[in-house]
């Protein structure tokens, strides 16, 4: 077990290191000039030179990379080229928005997918099953940005039940939750459609096994067998998909935040790439990579919890 954790931690560090090098290289190869982006098309050459000096763009690429790594190891992710404030401050401002959205999306996905998936498995080859399969097929096919527009048109423009976008923070919890409803649905529908299908097929597989028949034969109710015996045994593939989906949810916020004009990390990374704001892009990509790697790590740990037999294999 300790060896496992050590191996994963080493892998985590190595992944982040590779990611940082790739982002730095790509951002430097990409055509673009942060100074010109800031000062615009009327800028004089000497003003551009002065700004490049201010931003530290005149140093060689390798020197900049080394000093970035050195500072990052000490927790200093530098000053944003375009916003001119510490990158850590930008991330701290926007993290609550994106985390709220991703967590709400995850909860929505789990609740919808598990109930639909298990429900469909219980009604295998009946109307309910076909209904779930049909709805989830549509859910998978619908692009998130299009669904977002439909939701806004219906619930914000037509019915006026919910705001069409924006997020003013958690100081007013009711307003914050209302702002999150539509983005959460838009973000979660595709994921819950996928997960519902996985849950259904995984549950069906378990239901064919002998111990389920034994449990039923020993007098347990259908419901109890489903939630107490089938679901826990069907969890391994579900957890695998959920782990992948959490990463997809975090990155999916990029699109959703743009459509609902939410001030989160997704919109920040979008804007920073256009502005060639290297320190901000670098830190954000590292953060997203760290989230994905951590999610995978947690999934691996969960396998062992769910199915102790897997311990031997780690």
């Amino acid at each position: 077990m300790w060896y496992f954790i050590f191996r994963r931690t080493a892998g985590f560090v190595a992944t982040l290191f590779v990611v940082s090098a790739v982002v730095f290289a790509v951002m430097n190869i990409l055509p673009g000039d942060p100074a010109l982006t800031i000062l615009g098309l009327d800028a004089t050459d000497d003003a551009l030179a002065a700004l490049r000096e201010q931003l530290g763009l005149n140093q060689p690429v390798l020197a900049r990379y080394v000093s970035w790594i050195w500072n990052a190891l000490q927790g200093d992710f530098g000053i944003s080229h375009s916003f001119r404030v510490p990158v850590s401050e930008l991330i701290a401002e926007r993290l609550p928005m994106t985390v709220s959205l991703a967590v709400a999306g995850m909860i929505f996905t789990l609740v919808i997918a598990l109930s639909l998936g298990i429900g469909a498995a219980a009604r295998h080859r009946k109307v309910g099953d076909w209904g779930v399969m049909f709805i989830s097929q549509i859910g998978i096919a619908v692009p998130a940005f299009w669904l977002s527009m439909l939701l806004v048109l219906l619930f914000a423009v037509k019915l006026r039940w919910l705001p069409p976008g924006g997020f003013a923070g958690w100081s007013d919890p009711v307003a914050a939750m209302r702002s999150l409803v539509l983005p959460t649905i838009a973000l979660g529908v595709v994921q819950s459609a996928v997960l519902a299908r996985v849950t259904r097929s995984s549950a069906l597989e378990v239901m064919r096994q002998d111990f389920v028949r034994t449990a039923r034969a020993s007098g347990l109710s259908r419901r109890r067998v489903l939630w107490r015996h089938v679901l826990p045994n069907a969890l391994v593939p579900i957890v695998t998909i959920v782990g992948m989906q959490f990463a997809a949810l975090v990155t999916g916020t990029i699109v959703i935040e743009n459509v609902f004009y939410l001030p989160g990390l997704g919109r920040l990374i979008f804007q920073s790439i256009s502005n060639r704001d290297l320190p901000t892009v670098q830190a954000l990509v590292m953060l997203f990579a760290a989230i994905v790697v951590t999610a995978n790590f947690v999934v691996d740990l969960l396998y062992v919890v769910i199915d102790p037999r897997l311990k031997a294999r780690t």
Partner: protein
């Protein structure tokens, strides 16, 4: 007091309030902006939305520019110009304070100009300060500015966000906490979401400011902008991003649509520094192949005014040159054949702006009809700035030049991305820049327009329109913008 007199008194008070212009003192407005700012200092960043929110609202300058383009007094209440046109003596407004309470005087003006002109200055329009030789405080309310040469645009340029007057005490934090002398004070900013201004009760013109609170919301996606207006989350969207969606606002009695003009000339730029566009006949052939009306109809849904040269149609010196190269596909084809370029392939690299990408598709098919295979490459803005603007690595591109008085672009020499260098025009622009007599200057500007059209340096397509959507309660917004800012001083929104 009898019952009658009490009612009478109450009615008088109510009537008095109703008649006073301050009755609408509780006005608020929520304004949608497409472009999100990264910093808030117009003297250090060219982002247009910084000017849009800050200039003449939070920051003021010596002069200001009215909706008709006329230069008016501002922090300078008046000025004297020496007979040789080289010395300007500005009288400054008295009893003005910055929003942090520090006093405004001549030293702040000297400080602001020296900062913009310094060697390490990062002012985005540093070139407008180039003719300035010295800035001196004569007394606390008088400033003398000496020029090294006459400058026709000097007073106009002194009324831009780039020449905003800032205080040495607050300049370092203007990026995130802008402190100016304007009719509105900066209140708060949630990056990526909203920015709030509140009325400055100490402003010298506060009695004429109706809005108590102004909130800007940043919405880049056109369909999200439409939904936000339709759901009445916003009161105004002065620079609406999608011309194709305007009809649904026009049909809705809750809204008013405004179609005005900007200083943005949209051009099909050709790289004059390399073949085939170093050949004037090829450039004229492209101008003949292109049909402006079709482009305006298809790319702008009819909402734009065609231009035949590099000057806005609302300007005083405008000459209509749109008929210089009448659209004629057969003739264009013959011209391409005569120049020996028929059937060649060229690239049309377009930046990610709807006016550009949509125009590109139409121009591509028009050129194809005339025998030229134009490959459209949609590039991202960072790429455009580096590859096209800086490295001149392009054949053709489409771009709007949004600054006022920018005909001088054609005199920026062979290194500018036009790749155009003509001694006659450089000389002409030199005369325009230094001509301080408005009538004579307009004549020269007309000569300039004719020259650029005759040389067919680029194909001049249309003037970028200012499309605005407002709730009917909102009044006083500029319908056209001769500068990059839109003052909120005269705007009312009684709700």
């Amino acid at each position: 007091m009898s019952e009658f007199s009490r009612i009478f008194a109450a009615t008088t008070v109510a009537l008095g309030m109703g008649l006073s212009p301050l009755a609408a003192a509780a006005d608020q407005i929520i304004i949608g902006l497409q472009q999100e700012p990264t910093t808030l200092d117009p003297t250090a960043d060219a982002t247009a939305s910084i000017d849009g929110m800050m200039t003449m609202n939070v920051f003021e300058a010596l002069t200001t520019v009215a909706e008709n383009g006329e230069v008016q007094p501002n922090l300078a209440t008046g000025w004297k110009i020496s007979d040789d046109g080289l010395t300007y003596t500005f009288q400054l407004a008295q009893d003005v304070t910055f929003h942090d309470g520090t006093a405004f005087d001549a030293d702040d003006v000297v400080f602001s100009f020296n900062r913009a002109m310094a060697e390490d200055s990062v002012n985005p329009s540093k070139s407008i300060f180039k003719p300035i030789e010295s800035v001196t405080a004569i007394d606390p309310h008088t400033v003398e500015i000496k020029l090294s040469r006459k400058d026709a645009f000097f007073l106009f340029n002194m009324g831009q966000g780039d020449s905003a007057i800032v205080a040495s005490e607050s300049v370092d934090t203007n990026n995130t906490n802008p402190v100016g002398t304007g009719p509105f004070k900066f209140d708060s900013w949630t990056r990526g979401d909203r920015l709030t201004l509140v009325k400055n009760p100490d402003h010298r013109d506060a009695a004429n400011v109706a809005l108590d609170k102004v909130e800007f919301r940043f919405i880049s996606d056109p369909s999200a902008a439409t939904a936000a207006m339709m759901a009445e989350e916003l009161d105004a969207f002065p620079g609406f991003p999608a011309p194709e969606l305007l009809t649904q606002f026009e049909a809705d009695p809750r809204f008013r649509v405004n179609i005005g003009s900007t200083e943005g000339e949209v051009i099909l730029a050709m790289n004059n520094s390399k073949p085939p566009f170093d050949n004037i006949e090829v450039r004229r052939a492209v101008a003949t192949a292109v049909n402006r009306d079709e482009i305006i109809e298809g790319a702008m849904y009819g909402q734009a005014v065609p231009i035949g040269s590099f000057y806005p149609p609302h300007g005083t010196a405008y000459v209509d040159l749109t008929d210089a190269y009448p659209h004629d596909t057969a003739k264009a084809k013959q011209m391409f054949t005569d120049a020996g370029v028929e059937g060649t392939t060229m690239t049309l690299r377009v930046p990610p702006f709807p006016y550009a990408t949509r125009s590109a598709e139409i121009i591509q098919s028009e050129l194809a009809a005339a025998g030229i295979d134009a490959k459209v490459e949609n590039v991202e803005w960072g790429f455009w700035i580096d590859e096209i603007y800086k490295k001149k690595n392009y054949d053709m591109t489409i771009i709007a030049h949004t600054s006022p008085n920018d005909m001088g672009n054609f005199a920026r020499g062979p290194d500018y991305f036009y790749g155009y260098d003509d001694a006659t025009f450089n000389d002409l622009w030199g005369r325009i820049e230094t001509e301080t007599d408005p009538t004579r200057r307009d004549e020269l500007l007309q000569e300039g327009q004719r020259f650029l059209t005759d040389q067919s340096v680029h194909v001049f397509l249309f003037q970028l329109p200012l499309l605005g959507v407002f709730k009917t309660s909102v009044e006083g917004y500029w319908s056209s913008a001769p500068v990059l800012y839109m003052p909120l001083k005269g705007v009312t929104n009684p709700g």
